[in-house]
Point group: none
Chain length 205, copies 4
């Protein structure tokens, strides 16, 4: 029915607007310091209305985090897949990630501030979802690297460990940039990350 389609579209738009507002507010202070009234005001809804879109505060929070995180990884993977060869793919993986970091520092501060907020069921399930997203992404990287091993471009090391190492090198660089904001883009480190990941620090004589 056309009518219900429009309704649904509107519903989703409102929902997205709330999530966007919530993201901004949760980024600025701790979970417990954000009130539903605050989110309601800032997004132009009544407190009661929020409960039509989300079961409660926890659900609003976990939904926001979970959806945004998936979006981030999806973006990175999409860019990566468009690169031509393996080297360029790895380079893009690093660069697209850092670019997202640069553009969404507020959101990512949530992960520095704390991924786990309470021990309630909703939050545990968020935690699981986050880990899941991480692992999916690492698996994506792992597959990438496995191709490199097969092709002889990379050393034959445990591919999962390698993928994690790369992911955490990127992540570490991001965290550092967020905690020590510089005018320099986090993307300026992409070359270094790539180099150390590929060649290590040891001088080969």
């Amino acid at each position: 029915m056309v009518r219900s389609e429009r309704k649904e579209r509107e519903f989703n738009m409102r929902r997205a607007a709330i999530l966007e507002t919530a993201e901004r507010i949760f980024a600025a202070k701790s979970y417990h310091d954000v009130t539903m009234a605050e989110i309601a005001n800032a997004s132009g809804f009544s407190t009661g209305s929020l409960y039509q879109f989300f079961k409660g505060k926890e659900n609003l929070y976990t939904t926001m985090v979970s959806e945004k995180l998936d979006f981030m990884f999806a973006e990175v993977r999409k860019s990566t897949e468009q690169a031509k060869d393996l080297l360029r793919k790895i380079e893009t993986l690093i660069d697209a990630h850092l670019q997202f970091v640069e553009r969404n520092a507020d959101f990512l501060m949530l992960f520095i501030k704390g991924e786990k907020v309470t021990s309630s069921d909703a939050m545990s399930s968020l935690h699981e979802k986050i880990l899941n997203s991480y692992y999916n992404h690492i698996t994506f990287i792992e597959n990438l690297l496995e191709n490199g091993i097969k092709s002889g471009m990379l050393r034959n090391m445990p591919s999962r460990d390698m993928a994690e190492a790369l992911f955490y090198l990127i992540r570490a660089s991001s965290v550092k940039w967020m905690l020590m904001p510089t005018t320099e883009s986090p993307r300026s480190k992409r070359g270094f990350i790539l180099d150390i990941f590929l060649n290590g620090v040891k001088k080969n004589d």
Copy 2:
């Protein structure tokens, strides 16, 4: 005076006992979900007594985190310094860190859960202290690596970035172990970390 010495010793023991209990409890749930009454009960004191040792909840939390973190880095550095040559020092740096992680997983969960809790003065100052401890430790690593550069053992790359890369590789491995607890010790990854840090993933033909 002997009397006051004993008193002071007892005071410090009680204080330490509270910190230990608090560490366990704060590790299990979020800051806001921990109540003073809970800590008091678990440590065998009355709520009022906690306030003789700490100015308040925030102070109890920040003191605990700050003191323990400093202790951790000090331990790692002490071990590292005892190693004979640079290679062994780097190896020990990795291993001692992972060993501390294995033994103090509860405490370190706090950092996965979130370092920043509210934006109060006490918490901001904690945040600063934590960053400070990190940077001191990274500087320690940096100095180590600079020796390696001078001696020609390591490639001539920015030493700070190298130090950070190493630190975050260790940290990442720790985080992973904590989030995906295995029966395997986190120390089992020390060889891999050392290898990837020294040699990278690229196959040299």
Copy 3:
């Protein structure tokens, strides 16, 4: 809009109901011994609701005192101004005041118990407001008496001091009645107060 008018009217009625309840309770014991829960229960609201009408306990208290005191003085002055000549005006000033005392003994007990409760900002400002109301009222009396001096009916004494003397004679009589409740109305003293104020106690031979 009719709707919002009704809302506002209801809001004001509830607010007034709370103030009335609070007046009774604060009159019965000291500020610190009154709890918000008590006022909430007695006025049929939840504790949380009180905070929709007043910023906090202090604000509830100071608002109640300040508004009621202004109301009292306004009433007295209104009555006074309606009297025909100076003598009758003074008489009415005394009588209207005593009448208010009789009808609002509970509220006025607050002033016997103590006008100043803590030294917080809110309370200091209340103290200032009270002094202000007093002085306005005394100034009103002063103007009255000055007319009497000009017209030659009253002795040429400092008008401010005279006004204070009259005000405090009334107040003293009120206080006495409140502390030693008799079946007799406080208004029975109006003749005596007027007499002593006008003629003093000395026998003129």
Copy 4:
């Protein structure tokens, strides 16, 4: 026994020292804002020791107020009795009172701040004691004035009411001076009080 006499003397001195300290502290803030620890520190005793002299906080407070108030009225009466004739006695009554006010403003602020602190038994009994002291003093004044009536110096009005009027005129002047501190001594008003009390404000033609 000499020994116990000395002990008792020392006991009383300590007790008096505590009362003096308490007077100063209670004068500065509200009853509930004064802590036993504060009084203990300021008077050089331990908190525990205070309980050897007074049953508790309330008892300490009520004892202090009650004893000091009795002392004040006793002083005033002693001075009054030394005056030669009735006129001078009334004059002295006013002056000695104002003089005490000037010297003990801190203490008397307690009565402006609030005579009734809680509704506990101890406080109710204090309230009674205070009223009692007031009435004794007013009776003393009453007797004085009755002599004046008998001797034909004063008009034949209800002596109790006259006594109260005089007492409250003095009290009002004191309160005003305390609330509006001037460099001028409160004693400067004694002439005015005497005049208005004796002659009223009405011009006799």
